[in-house]
Symmetry: C2
Subunit: 406 residues, 2 copies
């Protein structure tokens, strides 16, 4: 059996001082950790970052599944930011770091004396990154935000839902992880530049602002129509058929298959699947425009076929015919589909509290995704990191701990 993953060291030697919590920040540093950066989480000694304990986890374990997912491949040190010694420790680490990142509430990092100007004075080459809910200069720059606030204010909810229903929050936490992705890309750009120039950078992203980037399609729809982009349920924005989900047997909540046959060749292939070769070339059906005038009829034709198959069979047959088609799969079906584990897209974390199977980094490098290493226990790497970064002895580290600094 071949290994389904391999250690990845693209960012070997890159030190990331990570003061983020929950998801928008941790999803960014998670991506960098997958690539091999040394990501060191700075957490408060009593409870750790709130993501550790705000959600359910394995019975008897201290940490949540949520924490496992967003903190894989990272290290953890504990530092009491309410003590002078603790703050000095973070500054010492900032001097040794390539990147420092935080996503605290607006104004908090500056009140701690760890703002951009202070840190740049200590380390002019540092890449200093901040993730907030709203941008500096926005009317809401001081407001708190979570994923759903960004999705409300960033337009993603306005374009999700049934045409005649209320806005729906997209299930994926795009406000958090989507934002984290834009910051990861920007940090990597700055790191690449820095290797050549030694230049540091101040990077800032707001979750609301990042959402606009993810709905560029909706802005083009608005540019074309002159009106705010609308909700389209499970359909495509354009009036084409078939383009949407179709019900399958046995009729459970996710027993649907998406079928999209706009191109003429896709439509003709679909007609063969449906046993309606007689309609190939019939001008009443042969163009997207013609079908757009009889959407209900075309959809009924497809439904009549799909409702007599289960979604897997429907996808298999329609997909193999060369028509874009996809079964609506739920998380359990995805988790149990063996090819994801075989290919390393799902990997199992070897955590001290037990194994945990989760999505890995989805990109394969020379055939394999990077290897999943466990999320750290609280403060697990204090001796390691304080030793390597700051030259502290085991005894020094123990003293910090005893004095409540770490």
């Amino acid at each position: 059996m071949t290994e389904n993953s391999a250690p990845l060291q693209c960012l070997a030697g890159v030190r990331i001082l990570d003061l983020t919590q929950f998801e928008a920040g941790p999803s960014c540093t998670e991506a960098l950790a997958w690539l091999g950066a040394e990501v060191v989480k700075v957490e408060n000694p009593s409870t750790g970052e709130p993501g550790r304990t705000s959600f359910a986890g394995p019975p008897g374990g201290p940490d949540s599944f949520y924490f496992f997912e967003f903190n894989a491949n990272k290290k953890s040190v504990t530092v009491n930011l309410k003590s002078e010694r603790g703050l000095a420790l973070v500054k010492d680490m900032a001097k040794k770091a390539d990147v420092m990142i935080e996503n605290m509430a607006p104004g908090t990092i500056e009140r701690l004396g760890l703002g951009y100007e202070e840190i740049r004075a200590l380390n002019p080459g540092i890449i200093y990154a901040q993730v907030k809910g709203f941008g500096e200069g926005s009317p809401y720059e001081k407001n708190l935000a979570f994923d759903m606030i960004a999705q409300a204010c960033g337009g993603t909810m306005s374009i999700t839902g049934e045409p005649d229903g209320p806005p729906i929050k997209p299930g994926p936490s795009l406000g958090d992880t989507g934002t984290g992705m834009t910051m990861a890309i920007s940090i990597l750009g700055a790191l690449y530049e820095r290797r050549a120039t030694g230049r540091g950078r101040r990077l800032q992203v707001a979750m609301q602002d990042a959402m606009l980037h993810y709905i560029r399609i909706a802005f083009q729809a608005q540019a074309a129509s002159g009106q705010a982009a609308r909700r389209n349920g499970s359909r495509s924005a354009t009036a084409v058929a078939p383009a949407g989900i179709f019900p399958c047997a046995p009729g459970g909540p996710n027993d649907w298959v998406y079928v999209f046959a706009r191109q003429p060749d896709h439509w003709h292939r679909l007609l063969k699947v449906l046993g309606r070769e007689d309609l190939i070339g019939n001008p009443s059906y042969d163009t997207p425009k013609a079908r757009g005038e009889r959407i209900a009829e075309v959809n009924e034709m497809v439904t009549d076929w799909t409702k007599r198959r289960d979604k897997h069979e429907a996808m298999r047959i329609i997909g193999a015919a060369g028509v874009p088609a996809g079964a609506v799969l739920d998380t359990m079906e995805l988790m149990n589909e063996p090819s994801f584990a075989e290919r390393g897209i799902l990997q199992t974390m070897d955590h001290p509290t037990g194994p945990f199977k989760m999505p890995s980094w989805p990109v394969r490098f020379d055939g394999r995704p990077p290897k999943l290493e466990p999320a750290p226990l609280l403060g697990q790497h204090a001796a390691d990191v304080f030793g390597e970064w700051l030259g502290m002895s085991a005894c020094d580290v123990e003293t910090l701990r005893k004095e409540g600094v770490s």
Copy 2:
């Protein structure tokens, strides 16, 4: 007036040979172009990549708004891949490129003789990137896919929608742009590594696989409940109140405000806004668990207040009180909010067919997002790129054009 953007050259000198089309590939190279890479689109001489013409654009112009958005800051050359000379030209460019990327239908690039093995033989240090619908080794590896197919098969639709309704496609094109982001991050990691080691990489991502990464939250919900993650409409997954959208005046399709008050301090602040200080400390309401037992009553209390305000006022008042809150904004409201343009989050493309206002890269570098440069006209940079990369004279380039190669 200060400039709202600045040219960014983090990836100055990085050459990207871009054979992608539509969105999953172009969104990836768009991110790299924002960072200052030289992204050269290779397009067919007759119509260009299909994204140029598959959607609406400005009247009289050749290109779509869609194309503008996903191809800002790039260059374009035309090459006829059906001619031997054209294929040789691409191979010559691949020898000079740092990155080559494609997202053609499965097997197409290999049939053209431009597969990984051929290109690596020409340029061992190249980073060769591929975006497909389904992963190599997946039961569906040969299937076609678009954004919505990836969203169906990747789980995002299964967790989006009302609890008792059908799956809904998230409005953002996560299957395309979300996937492109993971590839951009991976390319940047490989570029960073290559600067130190000279090592090339083969990178592959599948849109279905990338979706799993974006729904990590749903996998943790499943791990906690033992059941497939469910749809939650506009609410949070956990049974807390208030946590969701609330209707505002005057009752239009997007006249809603999201309010999230789970933490005790947020709940107390919200009670003050609602004029219900009397409930502060009342054990029937004071914990998330207590409110979870009277969700309808709590939501009604909030609704009674929100429905008498418009969403902007509601967000302003609740947000200023220190409670996470966000109005559901549509694309027109976002487009017309002046602070986005002031801050360079929306920028105007100075395109030959007229100005076009669109979302820019949302991350600010030293205070400003990178500057928006227009999407290229078809073949606009042939002389420029063939000259600089391949040493061709203007006359050589003209000959290529006359012979139908470019």
